[in-house]
Amino acid sequence: MGFELLLQNILNPPVLMFLLGLGAVLLRTELEIPQPLPKLFSLYLLIAIGFHGGYELSKSGITFEVAKVLLLAILMAVAVPIYAFFILRLKLDVYNAVAIAATYGSISAVTFITAGSFLNTLGESYGGYMVAAMTLMESPAIIIGLILLTLFAKRGNNSQTDWKEVFREAFLNPSVYVLMGTLIIGFLTGEKGWKAMEPLFGSLFKGMLAFFLLDMGLVAGRRIGEIKKVGIFLVAFGVLLPIFNAIISIAIVKFFGLQKGDAFMFSVLCASASYIAVPAAMRLSVPEANPSLYVTMSLAITFPFNIAVGIPLYYFIVNSLWG
């Protein structure tokens, strides 16, 4: 893998800001970005990415290519949590296996955004429909997870799964809703809408991402102390499954003939793990699982790995194949 690629990724303000955040925790400074500021940043990023995706989609239109990508997205979002679950069951009880599998079956919007910014600095781009793909990939893992739970767990009577609640958590969690909503708004208002929104949601985007990654670094850093409790199996899982997912997904999209930028972004989606939507759903539906495991793995292992190493690595693979 090209060393310059790794360097080019790391020598980017967003990634360096993430490291700055990590360092702040490791050096025990008292830097913090208290709530609801992180909520402001993440909302901003969701709206910006949704809006921009919708605008791009309004330019390209909804084509056969788009439909293909969306179907592949759903396919992977269903497949990943299933095979992840069976791998995890080698070592874990059903509850924790379900929660972690769901976490890795879903996606991380910030990883996607950072990958987009990386692609951008290389002068390449991806289709606006990838945002729609991302949105579709958030939810299925939650449903799959709870189906696996019903199939494999023997729970007492009073903790039956409340399926209505589960579907609401899956399909109407805030980030799915905002992404989908702003995608539609961006699509409907097209060129004119984007022109009005661009100063806030376009030009400031990279700066806001950098600002937010500082916070992500703080949050990830605070979880790092928990890694030792996670155990070697799960640490390895948190690094290897993303790579595995990326490779599988690259093979599939190569087969189906996606474009290079889309293929890369798709692999990043498959490799990323959720740290907001799924943990929230799992905490409510599978309180037997230990959030210190699934949140720590997603935030303190997989997220930093993807940001620093995964993104250039997946790009390197895609680049070798698409050329």
Partner: protein, 97 residues
């Protein structure tokens, strides 16, 4: 001033609504909630400053009669067993107006 019971509950904030439903069913006349509370207990540290809002508690209290306390306790116990948290009962005088 009337002699009443004060019930205080600390619970993972994701279960706040469940607790309020239990209070409602038990027939309390009202309650007060402080949404963001941190803490430490059997289930580890709830440091609360996470992006994810996991690891955050809510604090609820209600003033009610002894009879109502019993109803609350009965419904609350299984929830606390599953989800963790604390429930305290003490004596207070309520200023009636």
């Amino acid at each position: 001033m009337e002699a009443m019971k004060k019930v205080e509950i600390v619970v993972d904030s994701v279960f706040l609504n469940r607790v309020l439903e239990i209070l409602g069913r038990a027939g309390v006349s009202g309650y007060t909630v402080i949404k963001d509370a941190l803490g430490k207990g059997e289930r580890g540290i709830m440091a609360g400053d996470e992006l994810t809002d996991v690891f955050k508690n809510s604090y609820i209290f209600t003033v009610c009669t002894e009879e109502t306390v019993n109803k609350i306790v009965q419904e609350l116990r299984p929830l606390l067993k599953k989800a963790g948290g604390v429930c305290l009962v003490s004596d207070v005088l309520w200023l009636t107006h």
